[in-house]
C-alpha cells in the first residue's frame, strides 16, 4: 500500500515534468492588457488573470496544424490561436497546446480539458447544440484528392464502388456516409494515415477539406492532385464552451479586428499562404 502511495506521488510529480511546454520562437505580439480590462467574472478575465490558456489543435494537418519534434506547433490554426491568446495578454509561453483529433473535439470542450479549439473545426448545426462557435475565420470546402494518374474520378458522383479514405468522427466522413452510400469508407485516425494507402492504390480517394488536401499535394512532388470543385461549405470556427456568449462575442470582435488590420492575412501568408492563394475575408457569423 505504501508503495502505491509513493509511486503515485512520484508519478504526479513526473506528470508535472512531462507537461508540454511550448517555447516561443516568433515575434511576441502580446497585447498589454490586464484582467481588470475585462468584465468581472468573464472567461476572458479568468484567463488573463491566470496568464495561461489551453488550446486544442490538430497535429496532423499540413499548413494548419503540425507539431514539430521540438514541441512547437505550427500552422494557420496555431497562429490564430496565438493571436487570440495575445489579445488576452497571454504570451506564447503561456499557451498549452493539446492535440484534439476529430473525434474528441466536443468532449474536450465540454469537460473543460481545453479553453478553445482551433482545429479546422467546421461550424455546423449538430455541433452548435454541444459547443459554441466564434468565427468563421476561414471558409473551406470538402474536396477529393486522387493520384495524379487517376482520371475516372471528377466529382463525388463518381465515388460509387470506390474506396474513400477519411477520419473517424470527421464531417467529411459523415458527409460521404450520408450522401454517397455507394462509396466504401476506410477510416483512420488521421488524414496523414490515408496517404500511404493512396500511394499504394489500396484506397482510391482521400476526402477532406480542400485546404488540407492542398497541403498534401504541395508536399507530394506531383504524386497527388485535387479533383473537381469543393462540394460543401466548411466554415472553420473556433470552438468554445456552450452558453459562454460573452467569450464568443469577444473572440468575434478580435477576429473582425484582425481581418481589418492585416494580422489575419499575415498569419495566412506565413503559413498556408506559402502554398495556397489568398482567400476572401470571411464574414463573422454572430448566430
Amino acid at each position: 500500500m505504501k508503495l502505491t502511495k509513493t509511486s503515485t506521488w512520484i508519478a504526479a510529480g513526473a506528470i508535472g515534468l512531462v507537461a508540454l511546454t511550448a517555447c516561443s520562437s516568433g515575434g511576441d505580439d502580446t497585447a498589454d492588457v490586464a484582467a481588470s480590462d475585462f468584465p468581472e467574472g468573464s472567461t476572458m478575465a479568468a484567463l488573463a488573470e491566470a496568464g495561461t490558456i489551453t488550446i486544442g489543435t490538430k497535429f496532423d494537418q499540413p499548413l494548419f496544424g503540425l507539431l514539430a519534434p521540438s514541441g512547437d506547433p505550427e500552422g494557420f490554426d496555431v497562429e490564430i490561436g496565438k493571436i487570440i491568446a495575445g489579445e488576452l495578454g497571454i504570451s506564447e509561453d503561456g499557451i498549452e497546446w493539446v492535440e484534439t483529433v476529430s473525434a474528441n473535439r466536443e468532449p474536450f470542450i465540454q469537460d473543460g480539458s481545453v479553453d478553445i479549439v482551433v482545429a479546422t473545426y467546421t461550424i455546423n448545426d449538430e455541433r452548435k447544440e454541444l459547443v459554441s462557435f466564434a468565427g468563421p475565420y476561414y471558409n473551406a470546402g470538402q474536396a477529393l484528392m486522387t493520384l495524379t494518374e487517376t482520371d475516372d474520378i471528377e466529382s463525388p458522383d463518381d465515388l460509387a464502388g470506390k474506396v474513400v479514405c477519411s477520419v473517424t468522427g470527421s464531417t467529411p466522413a459523415q458527409n460521404i456516409a450520408d450522401n454517397y452510400p455507394d462509396a466504401e469508407l476506410a477510416l483512420f485516425d488521421a488524414y496523414t494515415d490515408c496517404l500511404e494507402p493512396l500511394r499504394n492504390g489500396q484506397v482510391d480517394v482521400v476526402t477532406t477539406d480542400n485546404v488540407i488536401l492542398a497541403g498534401y499535394v504541395a508536399d507530394s512532388d506531383d504524386e497527388f492532385k485535387v479533383v473537381g470543385e469543393p462540394f460543401t461549405e466548411e466554415p472553420y470556427g473556433i470552438g468554445l464552451a456552450l452558453e459562454d456568449d460573452e467569450f464568443r462575442d469577444w473572440i468575434n470582435d478580435v477576429l473582425e479586428e484582425i481581418f481589418e488590420d492585416g494580422r489575419w492575412l499575415d498569419a495566412w501568408n506565413e503559413t498556408a499562404g506559402t502554398v495556397l492563394p489568398e482567400p476572401d475575408v470571411p464574414t463573422v457569423d454572430r448566430y
Partner: protein
C-alpha cells in the same frame, strides 16, 4: 519434459543428417536475409531518409527529434509505472476477497466483475474513461490498464492460492486465525512468491498495452513516432519505426529476462511449492495481447506421483524436534546427494 526426449542421442547417420540440415537451413536463412537486404537497397530503403535521426530536414535539430521520442518513451513508462502498482494492489485485494469471504453474493459479484474486466478490449476501456468520464488521456490509459490487469493479477494469485498445499490453510485455522487472516498472513505471501514470475511477465504485457493509448491520443512512444512522421512526411517513417520497435523490444526483453531470472533464483532456492502449471493446475495468465512469457522447461509433472517434477523442487528435509545439528546436517547431506543423483538420472531420462 525437455525436447531432447523426443529424439534419440544422434548416431553417426543422424549426425551427418543433422549437419546437412544445419548447413542447409543456415544457408537458407542467410540467403533469405541477404535477399531481403538487397530488395530493400533496391527500393532505396538505405538512402538519405536515415538522416532524420541525425540531421533532420525542415529546420529541426537531431536533439529535437530524439527529445520528442524520449518524451514518448517517458510517457509510455510513466503510464506503466502508475498503472502497475495500482493493478497489483487491486488484483491482490480481489483475490483475497474471493478466497477469504465465502458469501455467495460477494464471490459472485467478484466473479462477474473479473469476467467483465477480462472480456472487454483494453482499448475500449480507455475510450470509456476518455469519452464518458472525461478523464485526461494519461488517466484514461491508466484506467484501461488497471481494470484489465487487476483482473488478470487476481486470477494469477487465485491460481497461486489454490496451488498451495491444503495443510497451510488448515494449520492457520487450527492455531485460531480467522479465515481472512489465514489468507493474508500465511497463504498470500507464499502465493505471491510462487507466482512472482507470472506477475513480472504481466508487467511486460502492461507496458506493451500502453501503445493502445493512440485511441485517446495519449502521446506515448508510438504516437510520437506518428506525429514525427506527420511532420517530416511518409518518407521518413522507416527509420522512426525502427527506432521505436527497437526500444520496445529491448525494454520488454529486459523485463522478460528479469522474470526468467527471478524464476530460476526461486527454483534454485528450492523453497515453497512448485508453481502451478498452465493446464491442469491453473490458468495461464492472459494479457490483453496474449499471455506472458513462460520460462524454458516449465513442466507440470505427474500430478499423482510427483514424478518428473523438477528435482530442485523436491522438498528439503525439516529439522525434527530435538534433533542435534550434526544429525540434521547429515540428513541434509543425504538429501542433497539424493537430489544430485536424481538430477543425474533426470538427464538420462531414467527416473
Amino acid at each position: 519434459m525437455s525436447s531432447s526426449v523426443l529424439y534419440d542421442v544422434p548416431g553417426p547417420r543422424a549426425r551427418r543428417l543433422d549437419r546437412i540440415l544445419n548447413v542447409t537451413f543456415s544457408v537458407a536463412f542467410v540467403a533469405i536475409a541477404a535477399y531481403v537486404v538487397y530488395a530493400f537497397a533496391q527500393r532505396g530503403v538505405f538512402d538519405d531518409r536515415w538522416k532524420v535521426l541525425w540531421d533532420p530536414p525542415k529546420g529541426q535539430t537531431a536533439a529535437d527529434v530524439w527529445t520528442s521520442l524520449a518524451q514518448g518513451l517517458g510517457n509510455t513508462l510513466l503510464a506503466a509505472a502508475i498503472a502497475a502498482p495500482i493493478a497489483v494492489t487491486l488484483g491482490a485485494f480481489v483475490a483475497i476477497v474471493r478466497r477469504g469471504i465465502t458469501r455467495r453474493l460477494v464471490t459472485g459479484s467478484a466473479t462477474v466483475v473479473t469476467e467483465f474486466a477480462r472480456g472487454l478490449p483494453v482499448l475500449m476501456l480507455m475510450l470509456l474513461a476518455r469519452l464518458a468520464f472525461g478523464w485526461s488521456p494519461l488517466w484514461s490509459v491508466v484506467f484501461g490498464l488497471v481494470v484489465y490487469n487487476a483482473a488478470v493479477v487476481a486470477e494469477v494469485l487465485r491460481a497461486g492460492l489454490t496451488a498451495l498445499p491444503k495443510g497451510q490453510r488448515e494449520a492457520g485455522l487450527s492455531i485460531g486465525l480467522s479465515p481472512m487472516r489465514t489468507t493474508l498472513l500465511i497463504e498470500l505471501p507464499q502465493a505471491v512468491r510462487i507466482m512472482l514470475p507470472a506477475l513480472v511477465s504481466q508487467i511486460v504485457v502492461l507496458l506493451k498495452d500502453t501503445a493502445l493509448g493512440y485511441i485517446v491520443s495519449y502521446p506515448e512512444l508510438l504516437r510520437k513516432i506518428k506525429i514525427n512522421r506527420d511532420y517530416f512526411g511518409d518518407d521518413y517513417v522507416i527509420p522512426l519505426f525502427v527506432v521505436g520497435a527497437t526500444l520496445y523490444i529491448l525494454i520488454n526483453l529486459a523485463i522478460s529476462r528479469l522474470a526468467t531470472y527471478v524464476e530460476r533464483r526461486l527454483r534454485e532456492r528450492g523453497k515453497g511449492a512448485n508453481p502451478p502449471e498452465i493446464g491442469p493446475a491453473g490458468p495461464i495468465p492472459q494479457s490483453g495481447v496474449g499471455g506472458p512469457p513462460r520460462a524454458e522447461g516449465a513442466r507440470a509433472g505427474d500430478p499423482v506421483f510427483g514424478a518428473n517434477r523438477p528435482v530442485e523442487s523436491q522438498p528439503m528435509p525439516q529439522r525434527y524436534p530435538g534433533e542435534s545439528d550434526e544429525e540434521f546436517q547429515r540428513r541434509i547431506g543425504q538429501a542433497s546427494s539424493q537430489r544430485a543423483s536424481l538430477r543425474a538420472n533426470d538427464r538420462t531420462g531414467d527416473v
